[in-house]
Symmetry: C2
Subunit: 407 residues, 2 copies
């Protein structure tokens, strides 16, 4: 088998852990597998470099930022290759460039366009374990280094796995896999044996930060099987894969929450076509990601309220911008709602089971939790509630859908 | 003017110092110069990386070592470019690859073969200050990263200066320039206004560690004027340049010492042709650099003693090797002399002035300092003496040749 193994920052945080990674990798190779390892920067390193940059410049050039940030993963790849060599196995470290990871030119958030991978293929055939510096690529023609954004090493790993047609992409992290919810809130939370790409996508983007969202999209697009597991034990982890019949039997797979949003409400918006477009175009142009949007028809029929959520970090920028647009539109004013949380239930089984949303609303109501906004998709229902009820909501939802029980 | 400025590790050791470097660079650019900056890794970084490697592997792969070690300079180049940008000047960081520094494939001690430099030339014409990561290059075809060995950033700077036909290469360090001797030993030691490449070469390789030896050779070959000066003040520094008439008037320019050698003596070597060749061929093959060699004709005429010096770090290896060869040759035995120092006087004026060596021997003798070995070249005389007399010897020689006086 050809296996791609990705190790995050905590898994390569120091010499001892790099040695442990090397042992795991070599074990896998000695079982007869070809192994490509993708490594992140040692934990803390990237933040250290970002700090240095911000001490030197209020607005660091992004091309130079990428050159700077790509160093952390290069260091880990070289060190890991050395550690593997020390165990008596041939190993070769490859940078993003040497791996042939071609991206677009959007520095600090580049998108992978293709992976050539010739050198890796040849070295694998020659019996080498390949250790690739994650998170980075080069522009077409190779003139500049790019990085893929936070969590980009997950994407590197999945993209390499698909380019090399690997049998499996293993993402090693500091948790055992994907849980039905946050075990810190619900001790009975159960590790999922497998989960569909779609569910993982909803869980990841909703705050279960095990696997970077773009990497899941990529894996889904190419059908690459991804296993999320711990680098600190031998537990089997969670397989992220194509939806199958088994999965549909489970109505709700997990409960996610996100405490990092704020709610903006534009009141008294004139009820005319094109208003919402104008509002959200302005916000999108400022690169602010809007998550939920709810528009209520006003009682009088002449004006309406529009509510939406944005990341907490963008709240100041979003508020200022929205106030400006509201004025232009002749709206009544803008209200910033902080202290909120988004609670979501996710499951591909929802498609074939009705009444799931109603059950969610009912259980929240029964516990006195007021719902401020609702948003639904085929496989998820999300509600915005008061922040202080977050843990309570997660617990009662986990309980009502029997998530602690093995299905 | 086109100026190349190289800043060593102590000059870019932290955020404040990088800012100071940026200010100096921008000042130079605003005076109307095109400026290429070459930076080392922040001081301590390279050692930190080497330590990590040695904790992971008893014998780290050199290809991976180069990938690892080249990271330090990449980081500094990106940070320095950001700091320059913050001062309102366009700046572009270039890696060894982006600068087009092509080397041979001898990892960890690669030699520069040529520098293409197209991107730098274009960016200079476009008004950018270029910041090059020192110490590194790439192999022909670009597949691998190489490094140039300790002090390699000096070589990067001089080679870039010659490739771009720069008017001057300024080496910024933590000392004011090149002194007549170590000011820690002789407080009256005087900073030299200028010095010839040849003298600098003798002084550098003899222990006055201001400028890497290979970089001086490179500058000499291409006639690149090099200025050694401090990054902590505005003193003019020392110009290293072609020998001129002025220089010949000065008989002795400086006194150097080296405490990092040991002396090996092979006793009772049969006095036959080819013996010395056999001995030193064996040592050279072990990559041990022999410095001084002295052979005395033995009194009887049938056997001889051969003494030579090697770096202290190689003493164990050299002793073992020499004992083996001595046995083969039927020699009497090998004696290891530790606790020695090499004292040298250097000056292009020696070529035209006789009696300089005699004057050296005489003053040493007058102070009771015994000479164990002597070696001379056109512009230098070196003596091996007892380690404990090092400082005394330096002082009396500095004094007898009136080096404290401006010539």
């Amino acid at each position: 088998m050809l296996i791609v193994q990705k190790y995050g920052g905590t898994s390569v945080a120091n010499v001892e852990r790099i040695k442990a990674v090397a042992e795991r990798v070599v074990r896998s190779a000695r079982e007869g597998n070809k192994v490509v390892v993708v490594v992140s920067a040692m934990s803390g390193e990237t933040d250290k470099l970002i700090n240095l940059a911000h001490h030197l410049s209020s607005n660091p050039n992004e091309r130079e930022m990428d050159l700077l940030l790509s160093s952390g993963e290069r260091i880990t790849s070289a060190l890991t290759a050395m550690a593997i060599g020390e165990l008596g196995h041939k190993a070769m470290a490859l940078t993003g460039r040497q791996m042939g990871i071609i991206t677009d030119t959007f520095h600090t958030k580049a998108k992978i366009e293709r992976i050539t991978g010739e050198r890796a293929r040849k070295a694998l055939d020659d019996g080498y374990i390949i250790v690739v510096a994650g998170f980075q690529g080069i522009t077409e023609g190779g003139s500049d280094v790019t990085t893929l954004g936070r969590g980009g090493s997950d994407l590197s790993a999945v993209a390499i796995a698909s380019a090399l047609d690997a049998d499996r992409c293993e993402i090693y992290t500091d948790v055992d896999g994907v849980y039905t919810t946050d075990p810190n809130i619900v001790p009975e939370a159960r590790k999922l044996e497998k989960i569909s790409y779609e569910e993982m996508l909803e869980l990841a983007s909703l705050g279960a930060k095990v696997l970077q969202t773009r990497s899941v999209e990529f894996a889904m697009k190419y059908g690459t099987p991804v296993v999320v597991r711990s680098s600190f034990n031998d537990n089997p982890g969670t397989l992220v894969t194509r939806e199958d019949k088994d999965m549909e039997k489970v109505v709700v797979s997990g409960v996610a929450y996100d405490k990092n949003q704020v709610k903006l409400t534009v009141m008294g918006v004139p009820d005319k076509p094109g208003i919402a477009a104008k509002l959200f175009k302005g916000i999108a142009e400022a690169n602010i990601v809007v998550d939920m949007i709810v528009q209520n028809v006003s009682s009088g029929g002449k004006a309406t309220d529009i509510s939406f959520t944005v990341p907490k970090t963008d709240s100041g920028k979003a508020l200022k911008l929205t106030e400006g647009i509201a004025k232009e539109l002749g709206a009544g004013g803008v209200n910033l709602g902080e202290g909120i949380a988004k609670i979501s239930i996710v499951g591909v089984g929802m498609r074939t089971h009705s009444g799931v949303a109603a059950q969610m609303f009912e259980v929240l109501a029964r516990h006195g939790i007021n719902i401020m906004m609702i948003s639904t998709s085929e496989i998820k229902v999300s509600c915005i509630i008061d922040l202080k009820y977050t843990e309570l909501a997660v617990r009662v939802l986990h309980d009502v859908f029997n998530l602690a029980e093995v299905k």
